[in-house]
Symmetry: C2
Subunit: 303 residues, 2 copies
């Protein structure tokens, strides 16, 4: 079982290829849509009274337990953003936190024993609070962002002591560690708690660092990237979903989980919102994982 | 045997870690320093009367035949550049072409039958001219740059019809094809002649495209990158050097050649100029190729 605590939002996105208004978004939503292709998911988050909860029905049908989705008085978290030609960086036009600004995650009793826990990108104080509520998970991973690195640095450093794994993007890793070099940045973080550090580089792939090993998962070279929103959270969903499904924390299996993450991230960007993630089947995921194999396979020695 | 036609220059480079003045540089030089770790090289280029030719002695000792290195009256090609914290892009402070501006490559008779030919980054008219002088090589590859894409577009398109393979970086591929997406850019180029297109992304690795396959070679995650100058040419040297040594143009072997390219590129950036390339041994190269294997190896299926 896989528990995720994160945002459930409404996104309005403009890309060079079109626009979408008030569509499903948020880290918890993308994570759940991706992970539920691989394993049952328990989602904890909050939405306002204006949220089109019926649109979450396809997620529920696929095994996302929404019992932890609080409905609060007020408006939902809304994000409006734009991507220009360089699809690698979003320009935020508007962020409206709404009920999310008073979010205080309450983990339902039946969720507290989930062996795999993902603390998506929320206030590190809330992430720490969630850890007080759960019963000795097998693996706890967290994500974060520039805003928390700036405003909640000491809480984030405290959090690092209590998680097994952190995912963050290259810019965030540099900001957190004040190291430009990513190998040095990863080492800095590994010295502060997590046994695994995943540094995501968007269209340039992702690294997984341990004290002794480095693994690199490329991003899949798609012929058209439609909307990059949620790629990182979908990556995390694929990664954690695969780990939760297999329950195997060996280096070998975690490498495979990285490829599942990359596969789910690559599907996420093919359409707006969680649309593509809801279309693909477990067989599609498997085919893409095989395609990653084709992409990087080589024999170091001439047989 | 591997023939390369390219620039032999003097570089002055400033990085956040130090500076070096009037050190060996140029595409032909980096290419030769890298390739000669794997196979004998024939270098064609031009230097001015001020060039410290004795400094090329270590290259000659390693099997770089300098019989095609013309010494002309005048000053050598000099480049002065700077890298800031983001080591991925050089800022050119000064370029002095000197004798290079009148370079007209003359391939010595004993070089004309080289089965592997690399046309490093020079005027596409000269690259075409070289092809008139050689005898049916087994594989011809070329490199190019933004300056020629702008000023010699039609010659470059003509050249594409006559080469088997092109290497260029992501920005150049986009500029040449007017496609932002690299898969689309590669397809555009593949339709115009070459059977292989290698798109280099600096610290983010390199793709090799054919009509039917995509291979990705990551860049090696170094803990310190000292000076990125010449990484692309060293990549090309490692790639072509491995192909020339093995003579095998199968997809399988070309993938391995990509990793040799990535390995040589990764050594090049560890010190100024060709210094590190001259220090490492063939065994060091092999170890790094094995390290690449460790970096990307995963099993798609749970055994």
């Amino acid at each position: 079982m896989l528990l995720v605590v994160g945002s459930v939002a409404l996104d309005s996105v403009e890309t060079p290829f079109g626009r979408a208004d008030n569509v499903l978004g948020g880290s918890g939503t993308f994570f759940s849509a991706a992970a539920s292709l691989l394993t049952p998911v328990q989602l904890v988050g909050v939405v306002g009274s204006d949220y089109p909860v019926d649109q979450l029905e396809p997620l529920a049908r696929r095994g996302v337990d929404l019992a932890g989705l609080e409905r609060a008085e007020g408006s939902s978290f809304r994000w409006r953003g734009r991507y220009r030609h360089d699809l690698n960086s979003a320009e935020t036009i508007e962020t409206h936190l709404g009920v999310f600004s008073h979010f205080s995650p309450k983990i339902p009793a039946q969720f507290k024993s989930a062996p795999f826990v993902f603390l998506a990108n929320i206030d590190p104080r809330l992430q720490l609070d969630v850890l007080q509520q759960v019963n000795k998970p097998k693996l706890v991973a967290c994500d974060t962002m520039n805003f928390w690195i700036e405003s909640r640095r000491s809480d984030l450093l405290e959090l690092l002591k209590h998680v097994d794994l952190i995912t963050l993007n290259d810019g965030e890793a540099r900001q957190l560690t004040e190291k430009f070099n990513l190998v040095q940045a990863a080492r800095w973080i590994l010295e502060r708690g997590p046994r695994h550090v995943i540094i995501k580089k968007g269209e340039h792939g992702a690294f997984m660092f341990t004290r002794d090993t480095i693994f690199f998962a490329p991003a899949y070279p798609l012929e058209s990237v439609f909307d990059p929103t949620g790629a990182g959270d979908s990556f995390a969903g694929g990664f954690m979903g695969y780990l939760a499904r297999t329950g195997d924390l060996s280096e070998r299996n975690m490498r495979r989980a990285m490829i599942y993450g990359a596969a789910l991230g690559s599907f996420a960007v093919e359409k707006f919102s969680v649309q593509r993630l809801l279309e693909v089947s477990p067989e599609d995921v498997k085919s893409r994982v095989m395609a990653f194999q084709q992409l990087v396979a080589f024999e170091a020695e001439n047989a």
